[in-house]
Symmetry: C2
Subunit: 405 residues, 2 copies
């Protein structure tokens, strides 16, 4: 049983706040705090970039864990490429939150997003943390405030809640994310915090998060540029007093978490700055999930595929040729492609279709759906993936090349 | 001893022509023919895309070889994604040339570039081939005509000749290329034909070409989208009666070939449609050439790096973070970066530099030079690569999304 809603409500035993400490010149909220009333089991998935922000290093040291109390997030400064000072500052942020909450610094996680290569203004952050703790509340408004304070160039706050009915009882899963609006002078960072009142072991927490992130947050791309700070954290505090009793329960819980992750991940793509189209790519019929994923990713990240879609051009040659250089040894005669459910390429040969009609449909709708199916020969099988991306517009280039000195 | 010049002259024993058979609606030249008076040793390097044009399949069957007489190239139609009819048509083109030259069809190579998914207009091609043979000449004008007839959206013909002095005598190496101006409704194709009057074995020919293509044609990228038809062919007819006598000679010849390849490959990037900057990326100090290559390629293909350079923004964070996701396990504290010889990142930390001055310099010059050096730790060593790319402009997007139905 799974129920979900856009109006986001916190699970039991969590409080949040979103406040302004003064990092951003704009004066907008820049400090988000997520607190569990009791120690929570926690797991994290992080950027695989070799160049990482200091908070990523700190979080990786601390999760998986069973005694996490809070996540502190600042926006406006990524604390990345800041050397040892950056690590000291990230640790100091967690110590300050721990002091206010009365726990150990090691029980606090930290994320930062914003400009890179600049040290954090620790004076305003240190002064701001007690105010963030004072503002904590278990309300919908406080949850929205926290989602808002994480934002950099996002145009809307990203929140989602699902209610899951297990045989042992009902639990909530609620998440926030900030995303990949690529207009800042640095690369954008994807951050997400997901909270649940389900009772989980640290191992279950880690397994659930990895499974769901692979299929959601790691299956989106705006432009293929991997951030130094991408972080997704899951906190499970057990306040609903319901643990998965069997495989069915675990599966139900995982479906709920995956739905929350998918809603948050796709909302990042929907908010991609300068994008005209939201593109869903299904790749089906491959021997391994990894092969299907590589094909989907090459299609999603091809500038020629993206610009064709920007131009409402059902240019299947760009799509099939991108699939062809993914390094997977398939045979073209087994490949078929539909665009918005119109067959454009069938068993390795061009299909007859009304190009003008399909183009007009692409123009009238923001969503575009590509489905590539391999139906035999080498590399074929039963695995499929779904991947989401945006198109590439002149506005994207304008935003990302806009630099004034 | 190596001498080279932009005014392109054919090596001994080669004739070329560039004619109009009527494939292109514009009426521009569309048939290029390269003929060796005697059977030539030949090798080829081809796209690794799984989706390939019919001519690629035919050429792969025929090289390396020792009896190649000619290369026939049409522009205006890529003969790709055209099924068995496409293979028949490509074979028929070679048969028609063989008939006119009085040799076997298997001794003729073929390339096609232009729109994909449409069958070749074989009537006009069949009628055009005898005229192309009639127009053959060993002159500079005929060489220029051949280079011109290969063009699709190129704005200039790409030719280069080098003279190489071996201990056994002097030889010439002359090449043409057509390139990656990405404005067609299909992806652009890179084609190159290189001729030398040196005497080589088929194995030497193959080794030389692979070595040089890896460092030149395979080290350029406009947007990372691999074509279905990329082909580089080398023909060596021995007309200069000079074979490499020792390792020194072989090295000298290889240097000459690499220079020709580099001039042709970089001229493709210089002709990239919509580009404002020509970017050279040196990556140095890695344990393997492959690792350095992966790092250089990620930097070259990052939309955020490209758009930063479009904006004349010395945004080193985008460059170092692109290096970080190349999958190479280096340590950031050993990484340094210069932009136009200004140190912007040193041993893992931001360097002090005059950002406004560097930006002004980037704005005033078309060429941008990035140098990333790893100087210790894991993955470090003595290997380096050079990679060339262009920036990403609004004009690129406009050209590639311009579709009218």
């Amino acid at each position: 049983m799974l129920e979900s809603k856009q109006t986001a409500t916190l699970p039991s035993g969590f409080q949040t706040s979103g406040t302004t400490c003064g990092i951003k010149a704009s004066g907008k909220p820049d400090l988000a705090l997520f607190v569990s009333d009791t120690p929570a089991v926690s797991a994290g998935v992080f950027t695989t970039n070799r160049v990482v922000g200091a908070p990523v290093t700190i979080c990786k040291e601390r999760v998986p864990a069973s005694s996490i109390r809070a996540v502190i997030i600042n926006s406006g400064n990524a604390n990345a490429c800041t050397g040892n000072q950056g690590l000291d500052d990230a640790r100091a942020m967690t110590a300050r939150v721990a002091e206010a909450l009365g726990c150990n610094a090691e029980d606090i996680l930290v994320c930062s997003t914003g400009i890179i290569g600049v040290n954090l203004p620790m004076d305003v952050i240190t002064a701001g943390i007690p105010k963030a703790v004072d503002a904590l509340a278990p309300s919908d408004d406080a949850f929205k405030a926290a989602a808002t304070a994480m934002m950099t160039t996002d145009t809307f706050a990203k929140q989602f809640t699902a209610s899951v009915g297990m045989s042992s009882g009902a639990v909530k899963i609620a998440g926030v994310a900030k995303g990949a609006a690529m207009i800042a002078p640095n690369m954008a960072t994807m951050l997400s915090v997901i909270m649940t009142d389900a009772a989980l072991t640290a191992e279950q927490c880690d397994d659930l998060l990895k499974h769901c992130v692979e299929r959601t947050f790691n299956s989106i791309s705006v432009d293929g540029h991997m951030s130094t700070s991408d972080t997704v954290l899951l906190l499970a505090n057990g306040a609903a007093d319901a643990a998965p009793a069997d495989d069915n329960d675990f599966q139900t819980l995982r479906d709920g978490l995956q739905q929350v992750c998918e809603e948050l991940a796709t909302s990042i793509i929907r908010d991609a700055e300068g994008a005209d189209h939201f593109i869903t790519i299904d790749v089906e019929g491959f021997e391994t999930r990894d092969a299907a994923f590589k094909v989907a990713k090459e299609i999603a990240e091809s500038a020629l595929v993206k610009t064709a879609i920007t131009g409402n051009d059902p240019n299947w040659g760009r799509i099939t040729s991108a699939a062809g250089y993914a390094g997977i040894d398939f045979d073209t005669v087994h490949l078929s492609l539909t665009i918005n459910n119109t067959v454009v390429f069938k068993d390795g040969a061009p299909a007859n279709f009304d190009e003008a009609e399909l183009s007009a449909q692409m123009k009238s709708e923001r969503d575009v759906y590509l489905r590539l199916v391999l139906s035999g020969g080498p590399a074929s099988g039963k695995e499929s993936v779904c991947f989401w991306t945006s198109d590439l517009t002149q506005e994207y280039v304008r935003l990302n090349s806009d630099y004034t000195t």
